[in-house]
């Protein structure tokens, strides 16, 4: 498990009170019964933890699978590293 993956699993589990072993790369936040406002909090925790800005209204981050979310965050992190 990559560190991004690890951290994002932790954030979802903590922010949404979801058992960590229920979360898989293929689950969507919806599958995990995550309320839309909890999803917004997940994105906030991710932004705060990684110091990135997650774009608005891109389904990859809030409506896709956990895998999509992690890939998106990795891309944002790569863009941030490249910009430095």
């Amino acid at each position: 498990m990559s560190s991004t993956e690890q951290i994002i699993f932790d954030i979802i589990a903590k922010t949404c009170s979801v058992q960590r072993d229920r979360i898989t790369l293929d689950s969507t936040l919806k599958d995990l019964d995550v309320h839309s406002l909890d999803a917004v909090q997940v994105l906030f925790e991710i932004e705060d933890r990684f110091d990135i800005s997650v774009p608005e209204r891109e389904d990859q981050y809030s409506a896709g699978t956990v895998r999509d979310l992690i890939e998106g965050v990795d891309r944002l992190l790569a863009a941030k590293a490249a910009a430095v």
Partner: protein, 403 residues
């Protein structure tokens, strides 16, 4: 129970610094939403807002007075002055003691709070202005109106987020109905376009980046606004005794709480508030020709409000007009309901229903006559004005045309 009428209205909004200008803008379907100005923070994502752009403080207040006044109080005072002038009412001692002031605000002195925090925490300046407290307190707008006009009856603020105006107007209605006061200056105000407030709304990811398109396909969220609405309310007896020109009858205020979720709206809570307003106002659903919707333009509100209206009005839902003037003056939070009451009174008096502008086409989940883009001429015998707040708090006003 005594009957209550409205005899004066005043407003400050993105459509203008008076109720007259605001109503003219609403009739024309004018856009009050424009580029966000005045906030100097490169990290803001938001680029648009419905600001009271033409409001110049020094045109209304001298320097000494301004020290005491956050914009939230300035807007409320300017609106109150217009309402008092229109009502042609003075306040000799006997009347002043029987006059209430109830002003809703969701936040209070947001700019003062923001500036104070910046000085303390960002600039490391330990000195806070000695008038910071009296500028920030949410009752400042009500107190300042009381001071300016010498009003000595019940005076207080009401806070229920985006329903603050309607809850305040509902409180005033009850004070007059029960004989606790004869006259009330009531309404609501917000001056929330500060870096802190805008960022807090951004964080919820409910803000539109293009414009506000309530009930429309392609809507992308709400746009923050600001401003005030203040109204002169009187018992019918009091208004007639002084020969006042009556603008509308204020017949009911329905209130309810969802007790479901802190932010997600609930159709049954909204419908219960609308029903309570009709019952209190002695109105049959078929008498309602216009509803000024809460209509924020978010994914969550608009379909829920549509379901609530359909559930309550049944087949009549297809006959009445429902518009969201937030498409023009933005979402002024605690001031919203009061600005929207200007639309309701205009519709009752002139038989013109203001439009929902920026409308791109129907959303099947919002299938009402939402008066797309252009005002509709139609007789309005009675109207409702909806406000639904975070915290699950609903307040709906019912008004009747005065013939």
């Amino acid at each position: 129970m005594r009957r209550v009428v409205i005899t004066g209205l005043g407003c400050v909004s993105a459509l203008g610094n008076s109720a007259t200008a605001t109503w003219a803008g609403m009739r024309e379907g004018r856009a009050g939403i424009g580029p966000l100005t005045g906030l100097n923070d490169p990290t803001l994502r938001t680029t648009i807002a419905a600001q009271a752009r033409d409001f110049v403080s020094s045109e209304h207040f001298d320097e000494k007075r301004l020290v005491l006044l956050d914009p939230v109080s300035q807007y409320a005072l300017v609106a109150a002055r217009e309402a008092v002038v229109q009502a042609g009412i003075g306040f000799p001692p006997d009347r002043a003691e029987r006059t209430a002031v109830i002003i809703g605000t969701g936040i209070g002195g947001a700019s003062t709070q923001d500036q104070m925090a910046r000085r303390l925490y960002a600039e490391g300046n330990p000195r806070v202005h000695p008038m910071a407290i009296v500028r920030v307190m949410p009752n400042a707008p009500a107190s300042q109106i009381s001071l300016e006009f010498g009003l000595r009856g019940p005076v207080f603020a009401v806070a229920s987020a985006c329903a603050s105006s309607n809850h305040a107007l509902g409180q005033a209605l009850m004070l007059l109905q029960t004989g606790t006061a004869d006259v009330a200056l009531a309404g609501g105000v917000e001056a929330c376009i500060t870096v802190g407030t805008v960022k807090a709304w951004e964080a919820m990811r409910v803000m539109a980046d293009d414009t506000c398109r309530p009930f429309s396909k392609g809507r992308r969220g709400l746009v923050l606004g600001e401003g005030a609405g203040v109204f002169v309310l009187e018992t019918l007896e009091h208004a007639q005794a002084r020969g006042a020109h009556i603008l509308a009858e204020f017949v009911g205020a329905g209130m309810s709480a969802d007790a479901a979720d802190i932010v997600m709206p609930d159709a049954s809570g909204a419908a219960r508030a609308m029903r309570a307003a009709l019952v209190q106002g002695g109105l049959a659903p078929e008498e309602v020709d216009y509803i000024n919707a809460h209509g924020t333009g978010t994914q969550a509100n608009d379909p829920t409000e549509t379901r609530a209206i359909r559930a309550l009005f049944g087949r009549h839902a297809d006959a009445l007009a429902v518009s969201s003037t937030k498409s023009m003056h933005g979402h002024a939070l605690g001031g919203g309901g009061a600005i929207e009451l200007v639309a309701v009174i205009g519709a009752l008096r002139e038989g013109v229903v203001p439009p929902t502008i920026n409308y791109l086409g129907p959303d099947p989940d919002c299938d009402l006559n939402v008066v797309p883009n252009i005002a509709q001429r139609r007789p309005v015998r009675a109207a409702l004005s909806n406000s639904f707040a975070f915290g699950g708090l609903n307040a709906v006003l019912a008004l009747r045309r005065w013939d």
